[in-house]
C-alpha cells in the first residue's frame, strides 16, 4: 500500500525544481526501476542524511509489507472461507488457546521490533550528531511569522508574512544561503512561541523552542533551491511562515558572503516592485 504512496519523488515537485532537472519520462522510469526496487519509494533527500533515512524506510518496507500481507490475508481468508452460507449446517470449533501459536506471534514481533530499534538507534545517532568544527554556523530565529538568518559576520537575511504578497508567491521569502558539500550548523532559537524548522527536501526537522537551544548539522549534497516551512502551529499566519533554502557551490557562496557587509540586514521583498 505504502509503496504506491512513495513511488514518486515528491521533492522534485517542490518549487523551484531541484538541481536534478530530469525529464518526465526519466522520472517515471526512475520511479519504476530504482524507485521501487532499490528505494522502495521513499522520497529522496538532498543532504548526507538521505542515505540513512532511506535505509530506514527500506527496512520498514521489508518488515511492514509482509506483516501487513499476513494480517490482511488472515482477515480476508476468515471472511471469505468461514462466512455463514445459507443452508449450511456447519458448527464452529470451540477452541480457545493454542500456546505454541500464541508464543510464535509474540516472539517474532519482539525480534522484529528489536531489529528496527537497533537500526533506528544507529541512524538517529548519526542524524542528530553535531560537529565540533562545522564549516559555517548560522543562527536561525523563528518569530511570529517569519525568519531571521544571522551569519557569523552579523549579516541578517530577514523576511516575514508582512512582505509576502500571497501564498502563491515565493519571490519574497527570506532566503537561507548555504554552501553545498560542507557541514553547516544551524542554531535554532525562538523568542516568542514554538516554531518548527522543516525543509522537506532535507527529510529533517527540528523545533525552535524558547528556552531550548537546538543545534542541527546539515551537509547538502546538491546545489539548488528548496522551500522550508514552519512546522508547528504558531498562530494566525503559521501557513505563511515559509523560507527558501539556496545551496550554492562553495566558491559562489563565499563570493556572496564576502559581498555582505557585517551587521547588514537584507529584508526579503524590500527592493521589489
Amino acid at each position: 500500500m505504502l509503496l504506491i504512496v512513495g513511488a514518486r519523488e515528491p521533492i522534485d515537485d517542490l518549487p523551484p525544481a531541484g538541481a536534478g532537472d530530469r525529464c518526465r519520462k526519466d522520472r517515471l522510469v526512475g520511479a519504476l526501476s530504482t524507485g521501487i526496487l532499490a528505494d522502495w519509494g521513499s522520497p529522496h533527500g538532498v543532504t548526507t542524511g538521505d542515505r540513512l533515512v532511506r535505509s530506514e524506510w527500506a527496512l520498514n518496507y521489508y518488515i511492514a509489507l509482509p506483516l501487513a500481507a499476513v494480517v490482511l490475508g488472515g482477515i480476508i481468508w476468515c471472511v471469505v472461507r468461514y462466512r455463514a452460507r445459507p443452508g449450511e449446517n456447519r458448527r464452529a470449533r470451540q477452541f480457545q488457546y493454542h500456546i505454541p501459536i500464541e508464543a510464535t506471534y509474540t516472539i517474532i514481533p519482539l525480534i522484529l521490533v528489536a531489529v528496527i530499534f537497533f537500526v533506528a538507534f544507529n541512524n538517529e545517532n548519526k542524524l542528530t550528531h553535531v560537529s565540533e568544527h562545522p564549516g559555517l554556523v548560522v543562527n536561525v530565529q523563528g518569530f511570529q511569522w517569519g525568519w531571521r538568518f544571522t551569519y557569523p559576520n552579523g549579516h541578517q537575511e530577514l523576511g516575514s508574512v508582512a512582505t509576502e504578497p500571497s501564498i502563491n508567491d515565493e519571490s519574497a521569502l527570506p532566503v537561507l544561503y548555504l554552501p553545498a558539500h560542507e557541514t553547516v550548523q544551524l542554531d535554532l532559537v525562538s523568542d516568542d512561541v514554538i516554531h518548527g524548522f522543516y525543509v522537506p527536501a532535507f527529510l529533517y526537522q527540528r523545533d525552535l523552542i524558547p528556552g531550548v537551544k537546538n543545534q542541527v548539522d546539515f551537509n547538502v549534497t546538491r546545489t539548488g533551491k528548496w522551500i522550508g516551512e514552519c512546522n508547528e502551529l504558531c498562530g494566525t499566519y503559521h501557513a505563511f511562515m515559509r523560507f527558501e533554502v539556496d545551496a550554492m557551490p562553495k566558491s559562489k557562496f563565499d563570493a556572496w558572503y564576502h559581498a555582505q557587509k557585517p551587521n547588514s540586514i537584507t529584508v526579503a521583498g524590500a527592493n521589489q516592485q
Binding site: Q96, V113, G211
Partner: protein, 560 residues
C-alpha cells in the same frame, strides 16, 4: 473447577422471608425529560452519555467538513486563518474529550454492569454527577465560539507559550481550559465508579478471569484515566494561573519552561490515545466472538496484551517530542516500538477468534472488520513514526495526520459504530435496518480511505499540518481534492446511520432478548433491561455464561 460456594441456609439473604434488597416505590415512574434529568439508572445515564457524545461527533464532524472545504483548493478563502485555527483546535478537542472517551464511558455505563451481572453502578448518584459535569464541559468549551475573540485557536495540545495570555488573549481559551477540566473530572469520577463496580458488584461466579474482554478493557482504560487526567487537570490549572495570576510556569519571559507543558500535556496525551482505543478494542472483541460463534481466542493473552499496552502507554509520551531535541530518544523509541507487540497479539487473537468460526457478516461485524483493516494501516504507520529517523522527516506533516486519523477514526468511529449496530437491540428492543447499515458501512469504509490515504503522500510531499491554505504550485492540490471528496462522502455515510437510528427507534424490527445468539450476560435479560437488570442469572462457569446455558453441547474445548 467452580468457585461458586454453597449458599448459606436458614434465615438470611436467600430465605424467602428476607427483605427485598431494593424497594420499588409505587406510582408512576418518571419519563421523558424528567427521566433524562433525574435518573440514576446506569442504563439511562449510559444512553445520555452516548447521545451527547454522538452529538459532539456530529458537531465536530461539521467542523472537519468546513476545514476540508477550505483546503479543497489552493489559496482558498472560505475560512479566515483565525476561523480555521479555531476549527482545528475545537475539532480535535471535541472529538477527543467529548466523543471518543465519553462514548466509551457511556458504553461502560450501559453494558459493563450488565456483563458482570450487576444491578447498577456502585455509585448511581455520583454517576449522574459525572454526566452533568461532562455535559457542562461540552457546553462550556463550545460556547467559546460565542466570545468576542472566538474559541481557542492554538491546536488541541495547546502548546505554551502560544496559549499564554500575551499570545492568545480572550475568554475563549479560558472556556477551553474549564471545559476540558470539567470533562476531565467527569472522566475521573466515572473511573472511580466503574472500577469500584467491577471490583465489588460482580455476580456470584463472575471471577476476574471470567469477565468479558469489554469489561477488562473498560476497567484498564479507566485506570489509565485515573493516572492521566489528574495530570492534565493540574497542568491546565497552572496554565490558568499563568494567564490570570501572573505566574510563569510555562512562560519563558518569566523564567518558565515551555518544555514543562509539553511533557505534562503528553504525559496525559499519550495514555489518552489508549483511553480512546482500548474500550473499542473490547467492543470489537465482543462482536468478533459473537458473530463467529466462538470463544475469544487467547482470552488470557488478550488481557495480558491490554495490560501491557496500558503499562507501556504511560512511558511513551515523549515520542510526540522527538523533534524538540530535549528528550531521550532511545528510551522513548524502544518503549513506543514495544507497544507494537501486544497490539500485534490482539490482531492475531482477533483473527484466531474468527478462524474456523461461522461468521455472520452483518453490519456490526462489517464495522468491526473495517476497524481491523483501517487500524492495521494506522498501526504500521505508527511503527514508522515511532522511529526517530523517520519521525524527523514526517512529524507534523500530513503523514502524521493520516496516521492518527487511521488510528483514531479506525478505532473510535468504527468501534463506536460497531457498538451501535451490536447493542442497539439491547437499548431499544428493536433491530437497526441492515440494508441502510451496510450502505452506511460501505460508504464510510471507502470514504475513510479516500480521505486519509492521500494524506500520507501529502506528508511525504512536505505539506505541514494545521496550515489554513497552501500554494498552487506545490503539487498538493489534487491530493487535497481527493481528501475533501472523501470527507464529504464520509459525512454522507455517517448520515445514513443517523437516519437508520431515527427510523429504527420507532419502526425497527422487534429484536427479542437475544437476537445475536449472544454469549455474555447482557443478552440474558430483556431488551431493554428492566430496572436493576436481572430477574435471574444463568450459572457463571466460564467467560460466556449465556452461551454455555444455550449451547450445552458446544462448550469451550479444553486443552492447549
Amino acid at each position: 473447577m467452580t468457585l461458586i460456594q454453597e449458599r448459606p441456609s436458614g434465615p438470611g439473604l436467600y430465605s424467602e422471608e428476607a427483605e427485598p434488597l431494593t424497594q420499588i416505590v409505587p406510582g408512576p415512574r418518571p419519563r421523558g425529560v424528567v427521566k433524562f434529568i433525574t435518573s440514576t439508572d446506569h442504563k439511562q445515564i449510559g444512553l445520555n452519555y452516548m447521545v451527547t457524545a454522538f452529538t459532539g461527533f456530529l458537531v465536530s464532524g461539521i467542523m472537519a467538513e468546513l476545514m476540508r472545504t477550505q483546503l479543497a483548493g489552493p489559496d482558498n478563502h472560505v475560512l479566515t486563518a483565525n476561523a480555521y485555527n479555531q476549527l482545528v483546535t475545537m475539532h480535535g478537542t471535541v472529538m477527543l474529550f467529548v466523543f471518543g472517551g465519553p462514548f466509551a464511558f457511556g458504553l461502560a455505563n450501559y453494558i459493563l454492569p450488565l456483563q458482570i451481572g450487576a444491578p447498577d453502578m456502585a455509585f448511581p448518584r455520583f454517576n449522574n454527577l459525572s454526566y452533568w459535569l461532562y455535559l457542562g464541559g461540552f457546553l462550556v468549551m463550545m460556547s467559546g465560539f460565542l466570545t468576542n475573540n472566538g474559541a481557542a485557536d492554538f491546536g488541541w495540545f495547546s502548546y505554551a507559550p502560544l496559549s499564554e495570555a500575551i499570545h492568545t488573549p480572550g475568554p475563549g481559551v479560558d472556556m477551553w481550559i474549564l471545559g476540558i477540566a470539567l470533562t476531565g473530572f467527569s472522566g475521573i469520577f466515572t473511573a472511580v465508579n466503574v472500577i469500584t463496580t467491577v471490583f465489588t458488584l460482580r455476580a456470584p461466579g463472575m471471577v476476574m478471569f471470567r469477565m468479558p474482554i469489554f469489561v477488562w478493557n473498560s476497567m484498564v482504560t479507566l485506570f489509565l484515566v485515573l493516572l492521566a487526567f489528574p495530570v492534565l487537570t493540574a497542568a491546565l490549572a497552572l496554565l490558568w494561573c499563568d494567564r490570570h495570576l501572573g505566574t510563569s510556569f510555562y512562560n519563558p519571559v518569566g523564567g518558565g519552561q515551555p518544555m514543562l507543558w509539553l511533557n505534562l500535556f503528553w504525559f496525559f496525551g499519550h495514555p489518552e490515545v489508549y483511553i480512546l482505543a482500548l474500550p473499542y478494542f473490547g467492543v470489537v472483541t465482543e462482536v468478533f466472538a459473537t458473530f463467529s460463534k466462538k470463544p475469544v481466542f487467547g482470552y488470557k493473552g488478550m488481557i495480558a496484551a491490554t495490560l501491557s499496552i496500558a503499562g507501556l502507554s504511560m512511558g511513551v509520551w515523549a515520542h510526540h517530542l522527538y523533534t524538540t531535541g530535549a528528550v531521550l530518544l532511545p528510551f522513548f523509541a524502544a518503549l513506543s516500538l514495544l507497544i507494537a507487540v501486544p497490539t500485534g497479539i490482539k490482531f492475531f487473537n482477533w483473527i484466531g477468534t474468527m478462524w474456523q468460526g461461522v461468521l455472520t457478516l452483518n453490519t456490526a461485524m462489517l464495522f468491526a472488520i473495517g476497524f481491523l483493516i483501517i487500524f492495521l494501516c494506522g498501526g504500521i504507520t505508527g511503527v514508522m513514526l515511532a522511529q526517530p529517523p523517520l519521525d524527523f522527516q514526517l512529524h507534523n506533516t500530513y503523514f502524521l495526520v493520516a496516521h492518527f486519523h487511521y488510528v483514531l477514526l479506525g478505532t473510535t468511529v468504527f468501534g463506536a459504530f460497531a457498538s451501535i449496530y451490536y447493542w442497539f437491540p439491547k437499548y431499544t428492543g428493536r433491530l437497526l435496518d441492515e440494508r441502510l447499515g451496510k450502505l452506511s458501512f460501505a460508504i464510510m469504509f471507502v470514504a475513510t480511505n479516500l480521505t486519509y490515504f492521500p494524506m500520507h503522500d501529502l506528508g511525504l510531499r512536505g505539506m505541514p499540518r494545521r496550515v489554513f491554505t497552501y500554494p498552487a504550485n506545490a503539487g498538493w492540490t489534487f491530493l487535497n481534492q481527493l481528501a475533501t471528496i472523501g470527507a464529504y462522502l464520509l459525512g454522507i455515510g455517517v448520515l445514513f446511520t443517523v437516519i437508520n437510528v431515527f427510523l429504527s427507534f420507532r419502526r425497527g424490527e422487534i429484536a427479542g432478548d437475544n437476537p445475536w445468539d449472544g454469549q455474555t450476560l447482557e443478552w440474558a435479560t430483556s431488551s431493554p433491561p428492566p430496572e436493576h437488570n436481572f430477574e435471574i442469572l444463568p450459572p457463571i462457569r466460564s467467560e460466556r455464561p449465556l452461551w454455555d446455558a444455550n449451547h450445552p453441547d458446544q462448550l469451550t474445548e479444553v486443552g492447549h
